[in-house]
């Protein structure tokens, strides 16, 4: 959207890439002792965030497995509606594209995504609420 912004971004990225490369070179420089490597590794400084994300992903699958099995069968239809609603958290991507995108076409895509996903957010949570409000118990 904004030429100067884009340039600034490019530069920032290149600079940080260079620094990162430097750090990497340092870490793998010959002559560095295994112990140093290990220490660095253990402190987590050198670990790719991907590993952490992957760990989070795997643990979340475990959590999902147990949480969903604990859902009572009587609420399986609301479950489908609410998981649908929460999967629209993909909205964060759409917001980035619309809000700070540097290209018009990307903004366009983002806007479409945002609209679609808003249907889901509002539709999903509201229809779930509507369903859940219907489940009643004796003595009330």
């Amino acid at each position: 959207m904004d030429q100067t912004l884009q340039k600034a971004l490019d530069q920032l990225d290149q600079a940080s890439a260079a620094v990162r490369l430097a750090v990497q070179n340092l870490a793998t420089a010959p002559g560095t002792e295994a112990a140093g490597d290990a220490a660095h590794a253990l402190s987590g400084g050198a670990i790719d965030p991907f590993v952490f994300r992957f760990a989070i992903f795997v643990l979340a699958i475990f959590v999902g497995y147990y949480v969903v099995w604990s859902v009572t069968p009587a609420l399986h239809t609301p479950l489908m509606a609410v998981t649908n609603a929460i999967s629209s958290v993909i909205v964060v991507g759409a917001l980035l594209a619309v809000g700070i995108s540097a290209s018009g076409i990307a903004t366009g895509f983002g806007f479409v995504a945002l609209m679609l996903v808003s249907v889901n957010i509002f539709g999903g949570f509201l229809v779930t609420q509507r369903m859940l409000a219907m489940y009643k118990k004796k003595d009330k």
Binding site: D13, G64, A74, V117, V119
Partner: protein, 465 residues
């Protein structure tokens, strides 16, 4: 906003989504759970806006998008009939799938906004994650559209079997892998769109051969897919909320598919390979003359008013006829007369897991009168009347007794153990599985042929005499 703090907030939002699903473990906590979900979504949105403060124009666009989408969603949510939930869920999934494609496209055209590199220099890892996300998203999109059309009756439920479709699917799959490799090496936008196109086609081809009645399993499977797509994009964006939510939704869909397949005693593979359960097959005619005892609304009213215990077994036909309100009225009359009334729900009654429960809840049936198969099955032996309304397969004793039956092994509700079994349906035709129900010809069975709603209303009237 500080990036660490933002990540922390995304984690909070993911945790709130976990709590949202956890709330569904019981009706009393479920509304609270839904609220947690809404708060989680609010936090995710607010965090993103605070982290990447949009320009004034961008902000306007965002508000506009939220308003348009939000009002469409809100109106739909308010208007939709409870019987149409399967369609609605399918339609919503298609939106998530398409949105995933769009977000990925935006990321390809403006990678800087997403912090994944610059145009023509996107990190390879991000490209791989993204292309997985976009492919799964596109498959979810077209697949869900087909499922929606079939469920909504806008497309024939008949399985459409294209010759050599397995071959075509495999070819498309291989093409996708090649294209993804190409995208990582060349970063060409054309390749990106080719991936989208191939996945869209694949989505259609995967779902078209599956019969309309298997659509619920498909919808749940697509739910799972939309989760994995979200998780893949979560890796690209390094967003904890997306990763956690994706995993949750992915598990959820997979587990529900599994529950449905188990409830039907079919393998997931056989569902996915398709070709099962198109139009209702004609009842098999084995040449033996069999007699059916038919009854009237008056007979039914008399039987039930003089019973001590009535168990109501609703099925798909009740949903089609929208008979839940009439049914509640009937139950009220019976209870006013001192009859013990309970509802028995089979795990795959209707066309969606928990479908019957929502409909009964809609008609103000209290959920502590509604029981699951394991909890009530032993009570049929003590019941005077089993009132089977629009259910069929889930009561078919051949699933229990006849090893040659295609549904052999599927757990059923033992309505045949009740003193009298009243069957409300329009004909002697079979249900979704297309299998004749031997129960119709049993001594203790009385058929009440007619529309579920009309018949129940007539019974209510007859009770007043």
């Amino acid at each position: 906003m500080n990036a660490n703090f933002a990540s922390f907030l995304y984690l909070v939002s993911g945790i709130l989504f976990i709590l949202a699903l956890r709330g569904l473990s019981h009706p009393t906590t479920s509304r609270q759970g839904n609220l947690y979900g809404m708060i989680g979504m609010g936090i995710a949105i607010a965090t993103t806006l605070a982290l990447a403060v949009p320009s004034a124009g961008g902000f306007g666009l965002i508000v506009l998008g939220l308003l348009i989408g939000g009002s469409v969603g809100a109106v739909t949510a308010r208007r939709i009939a409870m019987t149409s939930m399967p369609q609605l869920v399918a339609a919503f999934h298609s939106l998530v799938g398409l949105a995933a494609v769009m977000v990925a496209a935006a990321a390809i055209y403006a990678p800087e906004s997403f912090g994944i590199g610059t145009v023509a220099d996107i990190h390879a890892q991000a490209l791989i994650e993204m292309s997985l996300g976009v492919a799964i998203g596109a498959i979810t999109f077209t697949g869900s559209v087909i499922a929606f059309l079939k469920l909504d009756g806008r497309m024939s439920g008949k399985p459409i079997m294209i010759g050599g479709r397995h071959f075509i699917n495999i070819a498309l799959g291989v093409a996708l892998v090649v294209l993804i490799v190409l995208l990582v090496t060349t970063e060409s936008k054309l390749v990106f769109w080719l991936i989208v196109a191939a996945s869209l086609v694949l989505g259609v081809l995967l779902i078209i051969p599956i019969g309309g009645a298997d659509m619920p399993v498909v919808v749940s499977m697509l739910n799972s897919y939309s989760g994995w797509a979200a998780a893949a994009l979560g890796f690209t964006l390094g967003n904890l909320a997306l990763i956690i939510t994706g995993a949750l939704v992915g598990s959820s869909g997979a587990i529900l598919s599994y529950i449905m397949c188990k409830g039907m005693n079919r393998s997931f593979i056989s569902v996915i390979l398709g070709g099962f359960g198109g139009e209702t097959a004609a009842a098999t005619d084995d040449g033996i003359e069999r007699t059916v005892k038919q009854g009237s609304a008056d007979d039914a009213a008399y039987l039930m008013m003089n019973a001590q215990k009535v168990i109501i077994v609703p099925g798909y036909g009740m949903a089609v006829a929208q008979a839940q309100h009439a049914l509640r009225e009937m139950a009220d009359k019976l209870k006013a007369n001192g009859v013990d009334v309970k509802y028995a729900i089979h795990p795959v009654a209707g066309r969606m897991p928990g479908h019957m429960n929502v409909l009964l809840a809609e008609a103000n049936v209290l959920y502590d009168e509604v029981f699951e198969l394991e909890d009530i099955n032993s009570e049929f032996a003590q019941a005077d009347v089993a009132y089977v309304i629009g259910a069929n397969d889930v009561t078919n004793p051949s699933a229990r007794d006849d090893k040659s039956s295609p549904i052999y092994g599927m757990p059923i509700l033992d309505v045949d153990k009740a003193r009298t079994c009243l069957f409300v349906k329009r004909s002697l035709g079979s249900g979704y599985a297309g299998i004749d129900n031997t129960l119709f010809y049993k001594d203790g069975t009385m058929m009440l042929l007619g529309d579920a709603k009309k018949m129940t209303e007539e019974i209510v009237k007859a009770m007043d005499h």
